[in-house]
Amino acid sequence: MRDKLLFNICPEGEFFGRNREIDYIFRRATESHKSPNIFLTGRKWMGKTEVLRRVHRKLFWDQAHVVPVYYQFRRYGSVESFSEDYLKEVLKQYFAYKKREPRILKSEVSIDKLERLLIDSDSFELAEFISRHREAKKSGDKTAVLRNAISAPDLITLRSGIPIYLILDDLDLAPYINLFNEGPGIMKEFMEALNSGSFSFLAASSTKKVLEGGVSNGSIEAITLEGLDEELAVSMMMELCRQYNIEFDSEILTLAAFKLEGNPNYIKNLIWAAHRADKELVILKDFVDLYANELVDGNIGFAFRSSIHLKGLSDLRLLSACANAGKAVSEEDLAEKFRISPEEFRKTIDELGTAGLLEASLGSIKWVGDNVVKDYIFYIYETRVKGRSAEEVKTCFIRDGLKEGFNFKGAKIRGRFKEEAAELVKKFNGQSMLKVLFRNQAFSARFKNGPPKSVEKKIDEDLILPQIIGCFDTLRWEANETGAPILIAHGFQNSRYDSGNEVVWIIGVKEATAPFNLGDIENFVRRSIILKENFRATRIVRWVISKEGFTAEAQKRAEGEGIFSTDNVQFRIISDSIDDKAKSERLKSADKIVPVKEFEVVLPSATKAELVGARAVEEIGTEMGFDEDSIGQIKAALVEACINAFEHSKMKSTKVFLRFVASGDRLTIHVQNGGADFDKSAQSESIAETTSGLPHKRGWGLELMKGLMDEVRFEKLRGGTKIVMVKFLIKKGEGRDGQE
């Protein structure tokens, strides 16, 4: 009930995946010293307002170090109306917090009424701001009106000794407040007041543009709010489907989560649309129909219509051109193509920038909106510019959506493996690695189909990796190319930074479900010849990585061309040993390589579901050669991790994702939930003994995991935490840390 009196937030059952950000900001806001200012950015409708309001709510009720003041910018008629509104909110919310009276916070009082209220409560120091505001307004001094308002948080903080924590929502609208008609904006003065203040602030904006021009004096921390990751987005959709009694198929929800880019607002609107229309989400067409209707006639389309202000068809053409360009477009070319005057052009770009759709930088314009907005722009462009009917465009959406969804499985995995490859290459730093890990034909001959065979000796040779200084894709050069994506990794070898030791690795990454075939190799060879032209004086190394391995012809051709080739198993070994120097040392000989095996298990939220994981790990551990005691320890630790993951997920229908990576010397277990953080603090806070001498009852999960496994670590993820546990395989005659 008390929460209803603060700023509106969505119901708890519909709120997902932002607890980590909220808890973090809350912690920073309540630190004893002045905390750094935080700038929260993210695309429109990503849930920034929800995060800010929940931070405010938590600060209002759960602490006494700072006074939270939430202010949402909007469009104002004049600088006086902004100043009055801003001052009123600062004073009203400060007063409400001090009195712990949320009703005051939500009440719509005039500034005169607020002044009376403050005087009646003997808060003369606050009422004084209103009297100064009135005087400045009466004398027509707009600058004084503005300064009185924007200096209020600082002066109140200095006088009271209790700092205000200012929460500024939609800061990207602030630059539109002008001191005079067509005169300078207030942004510079406003930000100076914020930065010189003795208080901290949290500001949210859809664009990073407001950061330009000295917003920060250096002590700002940027947080980007991304879409929910796939697991969390799917969990959210499942939970909402259950709440609204909508039949669903999890594969279709996965597709929907992908298409909606994990945007929580789009997800909610789609589920509400299904509920309103009494539709299911069981087959692909269910989703595609709902999506098309939402864009054209639904809440999503309505939200776009009300927030994207297009003044005419030229704006629409410009937006459509940028959305479809696939890269940054020169401002000059655009202005000329659409025959817009420079002033008009600048204004339009600024407006569309504020809407979070375009970003102007160094003379070029780039589309930064998401794909759902892009589809909406396509819809209005086709209907208004090309004159097609809404039904015709809708049909087009449905047709394309069905085709895209049909190929979804392949599309879903695209990008992940490429990113992993790029991350791995960036770790190359002169390490020594077995050559066989880069030669798939030799690797297969040696390790596939039975125990390692003795083959040519040179596969035991080392390859000294270069020191990579950067890695990027080739989209700029290969916009219209088909085939596996290619990465360019630039670096130096032999620890010498001269032209003779400069090296470029051209890396093809295939992540489709089929192996790399002869056609793929030929495509890669052709494209690398063209790409090589960009690095004429540099030594070139070609490497192909294929998740599903290589056909025999492809292996042979790669070997013949001198192209390095690596499949998923080799990739994991490289990845594993590059992170672990000790392991890298141990793998001095190819005989020591044991290919990595990976297993995945998804646990539903059900009674004793953790035992399913325990059973799986028992099988894997036995196969790896762990003794009975170690298997018991691994099972017990896994059970704890699963319980923790379920307990802290905060979602009724969550799943827990387990990944077991069995390598030569260890078993690595990844336990991930689809929700909030695992609560490490709660785990360790009650480990002291009771007065009776017995241990405390609760909070033993983490201690048990640590005690039973060799390594336990937490990894932060978007919208949750992952526990990673490692157990080393102790073989006969070996001891832990060299001990018998």
């Binding site: 009674t607 004793k608 953790e610 035992l611 325990a614 009975e628 005691d629 018991g632 320890q633 099972k635 017990a636 059970v639 704890e640 319980i643 003994e689 009771t690 009776s692 001498g693 017995l694 241990p695 405390h696 009852k697 609760r698 033993w700 999960g701 201690e703 048990l704 005690g707 039973l708």
Partner: protein
């Protein structure tokens, strides 16, 4: 509790046989059993874990509660038949410092019959 038998009375002692997985539900069942026997005046309770493969942290919490209750009533509690992993778990928690642990139920019973041999 165990499939074939939940408990066995032996003179002024009772032996409890928990299930193979002690979680919240099984832990509470065990706690209820202890309450019943304490109410009936039994002061010597042996928990035999030979059928128990796993005890989770919630089960451990409940076990600590059970021990507290028994100690409050000036009773005696002993563990027997602990598998290595369960011994590790109790050891990490620190329970093995407080509770005598025996390899078999028989050893535990022999000891309770001459109570003065027990470390209290």
């Amino acid at each position: 509790m165990g499939k074939n038998r939940n408990y066995r009375e032996a003179g002024d002692s009772v032996i409890l046989y928990p299930e193979n997985y002690i979680n919240d539900i099984e832990g509470e069942k065990l706690e209820d059993m202890c309450d019943i026997f304490l109410a009936r005046g039994f002061k010597k309770i042996i928990i035999d874990f030979s059928e128990t493969d796993l005890i989770n942290s919630i089960g451990v919490s409940i076990m600590i509660g059970i021990i507290e209750k028994i100690k409050d009533k000036k009773g005696l509690i002993l563990f027997s038949g602990l598998k290595k992993v369960n011994h590790d778990i109790f050891s990490i928690v620190g329970l093995t410092k407080h509770i005598p642990v025996f390899s078999t139920e028989k050893e535990a019973l022999d000891v309770v019959s001459c109570e003065d041999r027990l470390p209290m």
